[in-house]
């Protein structure tokens, strides 16, 4: 599952989570999980001011974005100089935890 900006959505991608209206998160979804996206649908979502959606799989490579393993490897490389500082190591762990949660496939409703 991947969260991507609406602008990068292509036809044929499959919704990974229900989409809600901006002002009623938790209300009735306007488009259900597992829906196959069409150009028409994307246009409507855009009209409703939806900025980003969750899609199944990992169809888009955003800047610097890789698989979970690569993402973790890059995270470690970025922290190379400061990992011995306990507070900085804690920040690294929070990020690693976050990446594992959002890039794993069991997130969301």
């Amino acid at each position: 599952m991947q969260k991507i900006p609406l602008q990068l959505v292509a036809e044929g991608m499959v919704l990974g989570r229900d989409v809600f209206r901006k002002d009623s998160v938790g209300g009735i979804p306007i488009c259900g999980k597992d829906t196959v996206l069409t150009a028409e649908l994307v246009k409507r979502l855009n009209y409703m001011d939806i900025k980003s959606i969750y899609v199944k799989g990992h169809p888009v490579m955003l800047d610097g974005e890789r698989s979970l393993d690569q993402a973790l490897e890059e995270l470690d490389r970025r922290f190379e100089k400061v990992i011995s500082d306990p507070q900085m190591a804690r920040i690294r762990d929070i990020y690693a935890d976050y990446l594992q949660r959002v890039m794993g496939d069991d997130s969301g409703r």
Binding site: L75, I91, Y95
Partner: protein, 282 residues
């Protein structure tokens, strides 16, 4: 030539006002008027209306769903609803975008990210003047733009030094130029007559201990910069995460719980920042 001479020489070259980017007059006039207690919203609206791009942006913001107002059609209504500070920040940030975007999209995205992150931290800690903090954060790397514009030759040396020695950009800049982008940004902020609460966080975002009057604001920018570098968003020219100074932790007192919440919300919002950046480039 001593290091001090070199630095002074450079300051002269860099601050040559003829080639320095300027702030549009509308910002100076807004600042003047907003400091005068007797000025009215109508006077300010009149000034804003003289800039069509700024007017369009303000109306767009006032009508955006995040504010939840209905159909705001006049600049003075929009300004009453949004508040003078939001309008001033918006005027400043659209100018910065124009200056930066020509130089590099990566740096612009980094700056937008740090602006958003600083705002998030300030709100989470219930700090006063959140808008000012995010404006300072948006501007924090403006010195890099000036160095790129004015020191093209040295830039290659700086980049090489940075790669070879695996140092941070400001360390390499200090080695080659005897100053760094934070200090240069501070000079520019002074040239633009920006208030201390903006110029101090810009000048001291890599060393908050030097900030005398606005250390809290400088610390927020310092932490936000490190967090955005940690997430790998945008391209500041530094690929490594810098150490957050002990003094910044001490003054902000962010709990572990707050830190996780900040990072989570920040990552979520970065998607929208990316979206905004794509929209502006389109």
């Amino acid at each position: 030539m001593t290091v001090e001479d070199k630095r002074r020489e450079l300051k002269k070259i860099i601050m040559d006002t003829k080639t320095l980017p300027t702030l549009p007059g509308v910002i100076h006039r807004l600042n003047e008027i907003s400091e005068n207690e007797r000025s009215t919203m109508q006077e300010m609206a009149k000034i804003v209306s003289s800039d069509q791009v700024l007017s369009a942006r303000i109306l767009r913001l006032a009508n955006s769903p995040s504010y939840g107002f209905n159909r705001v059609s006049t600049i003075s209504n929009a300004m009453i609803l949004l508040g003078v500070n939001v309008v001033k920040s918006l005027a400043l940030s659209s100018t910065i975008f124009e200056i930066m975007e020509k130089e590099s999209v990566g740096l612009w995205e980094h700056s937008l990210g740090v602006g958003m992150a600083a705002n998030l931290i300030a709100r989470k800690l219930s700090l006063p003047e959140c808008e000012e903090i995010s404006t300072a954060a948006l501007l924090h790397d403006i010195g890099k733009v000036i160095i790129r514009m004015k020191c093209e030759e040295e830039l290659i040396q700086i980049r090489n030094h940075q790669l070879e020695e695996k140092t941070f950009s400001w360390e390499a800049e200090r080695e080659i130029l005897a100053t760094d982008h934070a200090e240069v940004g501070g000079w520019l902020a002074k040239c633009w007559f920006l208030p201390d609460k903006l110029s101090e966080p810009i000048a001291f975002h890599h060393d908050v201990t030097q900030s005398v009057n606005h250390r809290v604001k400088a610390s927020v920018v310092h932490v936000a910069d490190a967090l955005i570098k940690a997430s790998g968003f945008g391209d500041s020219g530094d690929n490594l995460v810098p150490r957050i100074q002990r003094e910044a932790w001490d003054i902000l007192r962010i709990s572990d719980q707050q830190l996780s919440e900040i990072i989570e919300e920040m990552e979520d919002k970065l998607i929208e920042v990316k979206n905004f950046s794509l929209e502006l480039q389109a």
